[in-house]
Symmetry: D4
Subunit: 156 residues, 8 copies
């Protein structure tokens, strides 16, 4: 994430990864304030054995794009609604990448943080039967929870 | 893709996949006009051996979300600018997925179509050395092309 | 509605229906988390004797579109302002349906929830003299309330 | 429709109604330039036997709201993209009706024009077996057309 | 104003008018809920001796346009930010009037309410030396206040 | 107007004024490129006998605001859609004036140009029976034209 | 700044300037309420020895543009989010200057206020070794702070 | 500039610089496709004797931000309208920089390209009497051109 203040939102990504038994590291690296660390982190990520990078930032959210520039790993972007423009700036800055350097953009804020964790699991599951199994189970439980809410609301 | 008219944009996704030697099928399936086929396609995709789904739609672009609802495969969404609202509708309809059902949103239009093909390659490359190698090569060539443009512009 | 948290807004739809003596069922069904239930609900709704479906969702609000995909009943959509983008996402995701699969979109939030109930009454009133009478009466009372407010404000 | 220039878009509504064998009248009535005719038209529509009103306008699109103000018939609104603001103005002016006076808003432009015709058929079908049958048939044919496009694209 | 809840904002218009010694009446009249009163009010306003009409509404803010439709008096529109869309809907609904039926749109909310009162004074001042004098005086005092603030801030 | 290129749009304002027999001068004065002329023009306008100022500009459209800053005459603003942002910039720059310095904002582009001319006539008509008469006549003719269009469309 | 209420935001600009040892004056001058002072201030600024002007305003934020109109000094604009439109109005009003009269626009609100102070230092540093040195040091410290946050978050 | 296709717009920046007798180099460097060259260029720019960097990009326009991350030179950003979202994406991606790393954002497209050249001259002029003189002269000529247009339009 680009700023320590994003932690409140991005812990949801970490929780999702933990639910699927996926190890992760959580870092504060700024595309604008520590560009060399950002470049170093991204360009060595694959060699270090990372499989997916999740990058979250607000405002002119360049972190995901900067990460994607220096790696061939899939980069997931989470736009954070931290400026007065309500997240429109971060969404457009993350999603509108030029051809050749994709960023997989999630929804704005905590929805997107959680979804980034789940989407990372989906990527890993393309070659990991255990995570694939957990995803199938997760999908069932998620549906059951809605069914449970449905019952509660009908009973009310 | 949700409509045959999206083909003009989405052929760029196919070309990208071909560049990386990735086989794919291209289908016209509408979340709204053929919902059962959409559900069938998505819910059986994993069993059929698909690894990634790319879904493109314009306006109230629900196709990627509908695909994501019925599979644990990674779903990439390409918003198409086919309504008078210039793609803002398709971008928001594709990106703003609720927690639990991620869609990896690409940029609007042909940039995003090409990026979806590349991002699919990145996902597969997490477990395929050959594609990983091609991606590394692609990144170099892409950089070289910019360097070439840089030279041309300086010479002009 | 797509999420239990929408109940706070959507109870206004229920109250409106009750004012017109219209029976209804209130359900939590998610286009993304329980897609099969959504499809089942919508595709059997007409046979079960339902006349109108009201669907409410926030963010990439696909529920109304998914409902409309599997029925020929009129589907009313209520965009919910539950993401940081303030309801613009839900409005565009609900309204911008492709030709062939209409969704009748109401205003964002509680205004729209109440209006969905009233609009359902208007549909039923095309063939129900009693509801038609209640609508005429409702319109008069609504006007009287404004007239009353007008008097209060002039007296202040 | 509020202006003769809207005819190019709104003829699609007429064609849809004709496909379902629904008689209609097509009028140019302006909420702003002929307010008394608008009021007269709307307030007598029910007595004249009309079942549904479709209103289309661009810019500060008030026609649907003005129609809805003077009738208890269902009013469908079609936002027209005729100003430099690309239809955002007409969409918001049509959709954001206050509680008590619903307008069922369709998508912007020709998509919405066609959908208004279809949605009117859906309303009438709640009490007309013949139209209901035609809608079911229409839905099938629409799906078949997508399936046909799907085949063509796979063969290409 | 279209709703009693707009009073909190629109009292600023009344205060501005009072500062210029201009008599006014304050009414709650809804374009959508009391359309006949709205039409009656507007079409008789000139004969009753009114010189200017100020109309304020939120959401699909049609009141100013409906007023302007039935009078040749100048109509000033004040967009109210009362929906989840933050006033964008009311601004576009008020400003984007078709050619032939102008509404003079003020800024959104309380800024616009106050400005409507001042602008009404400007209109009257085109033929009223006393109000013209008060406007000149107001402009001076307003500037002095800024100068005073300027001094305070430099002293801080 | 702020630029000679705005003439294409603003000639509609002149035509409207001519229809009402109102004399006017048309000037190119830029708030940003000739600020002193702008200030001079505005601050002496009243003494020169002008009654209303119409100011048109695109992009960061400051001309109307700058005019309003130096006069107590009513200033009408016409936002021009001359930048890639489609007129949203000019609309917001013209309309969102702070309390104390109103600008009466018209719709974007040629609709607004024509409306500015008509609105100026409305202001003058508050004290000019002849213009008032012409406005009443104009309103009738405008309605008749719609009625004529209505007949044509029904005959088609 | 255009209003005393902007001080809460703009003190961050002052603090940034102080960090770089740059003297400044802080003024409340309104483009709309004290236009002559604004013109006077701007047109004499260079002669008075000023090097850079920072102008902050909300809504139809004209102050930076008005300053830029009357000087050849670099003018930095800070859009303030003080209207219900959340800063979109101030951003577009500040940034979209016509060719020939640039304003260097910063981000909306306090981010932009601080950045304006830093950018002013960058301008001065083009010819001031001491400020240039402080900027280099500032950049290092800023990076160190992120590194520190990074360590804290990894330790948590 | 981030892409060779931006040359059509950015040549206006070069022309402006030439008008002021300022030497410049024009480069195609992509934040996303040649990140190392971008970093190298920016981090060595000051040592190479550059005074100002102008960066132009479209879509998720990160180039200016990436430049600003690695230098203490003033960086001017020109948003290019090259995606279907009409430049809103590039404007927000360029302007909304976090505190500590300012980018001076110009208007979207060719207006901004020209203004970037002029603003660079303004920065240099803070310490260069010759450029300062040319700027003063430029401002006069620009005003004269408007005055000339004003005469033409009055004569027409």
């Amino acid at each position: 994430m680009g700023s320590k203040s994003d932690l409140e939102v991005m812990k949801d990504a970490g929780e999702a990864l933990s639910e699927f038994g996926i190890e992760y590291e959580m870092r504060v690296i700024s595309a604008h304030r520590t560009p060399e660390i950002a470049h170093e982190y991204s360009s060595t990520a694959k060699a270090r054995g990372l499989k997916v990078i999740i990058a979250a930032a607000g405002g002119a959210a360049h972190l995901a794009g900067v990460m994607a520039a220096s790696t061939t790993l899939p980069v997931l972007g989470v736009p954070i609604a931290s400026s007065p423009l309500g997240g429109f700036d971060a969404l457009l800055s993350t999603a509108q990448m030029p051809p050749g350097v994709p960023v997989a953009t999630m929804s704005v804020g905590s929805w997107g943080a959680r979804n980034a964790g789940i989407f990372a699991a989906m990527i890993l599951a393309t070659n990991d039967m255990e995570i694939a199994g957990k995803l199938a189970e997760f999908k069932l439980k998620q549906a059951e929870k809605i069914v449970q809410h449905d019952k509660e609301i009908q009973g009310s």
